[in-house]
């Protein structure tokens, strides 16, 4: 839906805003490595989509909080300047559910976002999405 300006948003609509598609991820706050949580595979899908889990299994992701997910969480936390705990803590989930660009953050398993210096010339090398970009043309 397109609104020319904020005042053009109908009042009735304001009280019926749907939840964001990722809001349910907050239910995974506090999940820990080594345990299984129903629906956790969706978080893995998220991390895979944005390049944090580079290799997708031949079948769907499991609901296990495994080493791959912990590693993904740590890289994500580094990229977004969060405390690197490897846990799905409140700060990390709050960042994850934010609306974002669909282009991936990670290329070939190498973090491209947090080079440590804002003026460092860092070349992204690949990702699920970027691979699609480059192969597509």
């Amino acid at each position: 839906r397109m609104f020319p300006d904020p005042s053009s948003i109908p009042g009735w609509l304001s009280s019926h805003a749907p939840p964001g598609v990722w809001d349910s991820y907050r239910n995974f706050t506090g999940c820990q490595r080594g345990k299984t949580y129903e629906g956790l595979s969706k978080i893995k899908d998220y991390f895979h989509h944005f390049g944090y889990i580079p290799n997708a299994p031949p079948s769907n992701f499991t609901d296990d909080f495994d080493d791959a997910l912990e590693a993904a969480v740590k890289i994500y936390q580094k990229n977004f300047n969060l405390n690197v705990t490897g846990e799905l803590d409140d700060a990390t989930l709050s960042q994850i559910v934010r609306p974002r660009c669909g282009v991936a953050d990670i290329i070939n398993g190498t973090t491209t976002m947090n080079s440590g210096k804002s003026d460092t010339n860092t070349t992204a090398t690949s990702s699920t999405k970027l691979k699609f970009h480059t192969v597509g043309h």
Binding site: S14, W22, C101, M113, T122, T123
Partner: protein
């Protein structure tokens, strides 16, 4: 700042790129003007200018609003979540999620709808991808991957400017006025 794999860019010597809107979207001028402003923010600092054309098929940059599966293998997901995506040079595709509550002008921070998203903020970010920039960890930069609802963030930061000037050089008329924050206005919004 970062670049895409292989540091793709528009060909050496490119000074002008054309853009067009998917005619199926029937966008009003107020919306088209948002994109014009977003393009101009990048043109002010680098050597590439953008010109609207009516020929969607021939345009260098093709802009469209779509929902769900829309043919590029990257389906949109509904309200919030993924807002938009754009492709690295010289692909030119620039897609926005038609399910979002886009606000084209005015102070989005006053929107009564918690899911309102400032169109220009997202457009400026995606144009960075179209030019060849990847994501950055600099939170204040335009190329930071996330943006909260009801937030406006349209001014290029030093990190963004340095990145695009690395690719295409500086606009000779550009005067560096150090940008300390890319947010014109913001509030907590939904998140």
């Amino acid at each position: 700042y970062t670049f895409f794999d292989g540091k793709p860019r528009w060909p050496e010597g490119t000074t002008e790129l054309t853009y067009a809107f998917d005619p199926g979207n029937n966008l009003e001028d107020v919306v088209k003007n948002v994109f014009a402003r977003a393009f101009s923010r990048w043109s002010e600092v680098t050597t590439i200018n953008f010109t609207e054309t009516t020929s969607f098929s021939d345009a260098d940059v093709k802009i469209g609003f779509y929902t769900g599966n829309h043919g590029d293998g990257e389906p949109f997901d509904g309200v919030l979540g993924t807002l938009a995506h754009a492709f690295s040079p010289t692909d030119g595709r620039f897609h926005l999620d038609g399910a979002e509550d886009w606000v084209a002008s005015g102070d989005v921070t006053t929107a009564s709808l918690s899911t309102a998203v400032d169109l220009e903020s997202v457009a400026v970010h995606e144009i960075g991808h179209l030019l060849g920039l990847g994501h950055t960890s600099v939170k204040e930069a335009i190329m930071y991957p996330t943006i909260t609802a009801k937030t406006r963030k349209v001014k290029l930061m030093d990190d963004d400017i340095a990145g695009v000037q690395n690719l295409y050089g500086s606009n000779p008329h550009y005067t560096d006025t150090t940008t300390t924050s890319s947010r014109e206005t913001s509030n907590g919004g939904r998140h």
